[in-house]
Symmetry: C2
Subunit: 218 residues, 2 copies
């Protein structure tokens, strides 16, 4: 009985996610669902990505947070269309929230849509939004053991961005060990090492987004 | 109708939490519910706390994780009774999980029970476990804007430990701003600044736990 209820909710979300994806395809928009722990650097990576792809791709952003429109203000400041979703207490975005955000975005002027999910390594994995790509940011201060603790998220994503590599000299974080754990859970995931402070590695990530967005439109 | 279901689940949890607290009171155990983002340093703080309070308080630990018993192994290695709870996919501990863990712990030999919740700044706030104290760890690399983003957690706790202060020279984290934001949401919360690496500030936190545990037993 209880499982039945959960299944119904999930499939309602799936249905709306498929509608979102259809709308985005129609408009030629490639959407990325960006997930991470609180403070891993989702907004910083979005700002750096905008810098790298500027002139090559027109970007739009959806910001998901429990509260505040701090992140949307940062995106707006660099002249990119953005919608802030405040979930109230809900621990993840869902397809219905994103559907409402899409209504407020100039989709005809957007090729790459970056959707920043709520900071949470658990709940967002269960809710498709209509994205073409699921990406996760893992930040080095969180520790290299995180794939053991949150295997569902690490297994679910198409790309993994290791952020804050500028802090590596001050941390006990073994990149090789971490990459090996990730590969064990998800051998197909593309992995990038970046610092949103020094900008190291950010160009490679951005160029890859340009490539896959173009390939998807063909 | 849907709200009704949620209310029933919550009050079932509340009922079990009250039973847990009654059992813990009977046994003279002071329980702390320790919450944070993934990788903020819950297990490290537990290990440092054990060092500080050794000889003054007998400690027990409950480790909550979606998967793995990595953390329980670290606690066991320092000779402290520990039970690992694996929640499967569930994004927080609940009172029923803790009740089962309590059955496996030598409660007569424990004065301070540290319960490490699942790494998540959202979901754990809604579920009492039977604890006397709610404590949160915020780590400096997560950024000083987190109280804006996760106000529910910051407002709910009795104590806040700012961890990884050894990294401050390498970060754009303003301790004064952060403390001001926290005070705005939760003027009563006790705030500690610590580094589990250099051990700075850890003694103050541990001594405070010794004090309040003793005061509670009187």
């Amino acid at each position: 009985m209880r499982i039945q209820v959960v299944e119904d909710i999930l499939s309602a979300n799936e249905r709306i996610a498929i509608e979102n994806q259809r709308l985005l395809d129609e408009k030629g928009v490639f959407a990325v669902n960006l997930m991470s722990s609180p403070g891993a650097g989702k907004t910083s990576l979005i700002l750096r990505t905008i810098e790298v792809v500027r002139g090559k791709l027109r970007v739009g952003v959806v910001e998901g947070d429990i509260a505040s429109r701090l992140d949307a203000d940062k995106i707006e400041a660099v002249g990119v269309p953005v919608v802030q979703i405040n979930t109230g207490g809900t621990c993840h975005l869902d397809a219905n929230m994103v559907r409402q955000a899409l209504e407020e975005l100039p989709l005809d002027d957007i090729e790459l849509l970056l959707i920043e999910n709520v900071g949470n390594l658990i709940c967002p994995t269960g809710f498709a939004l209509g994205e073409r790509l699921k990406a996760m940011i893992a930040s080095t201060p969180e520790g290299d053991d995180k794939p053991y603790k949150y295997p569902g998220m690490f297994a679910a994503v198409d790309a993994l961005v290791i952020n804050k590599i500028d802090l590596l000299p001050h941390l006990d974080f073994d990149v090789a060990t971490f990459r090996q754990l990730v590969a064990g859970l998800n051998p197909e995931a593309r992995v990038f090492e970046v610092s949103c402070i020094t900008r190291e590695g950010v160009e490679g990530w951005g160029e890859w987004l340009v490539e896959i967005t173009a390939a998807d439109g063909e």
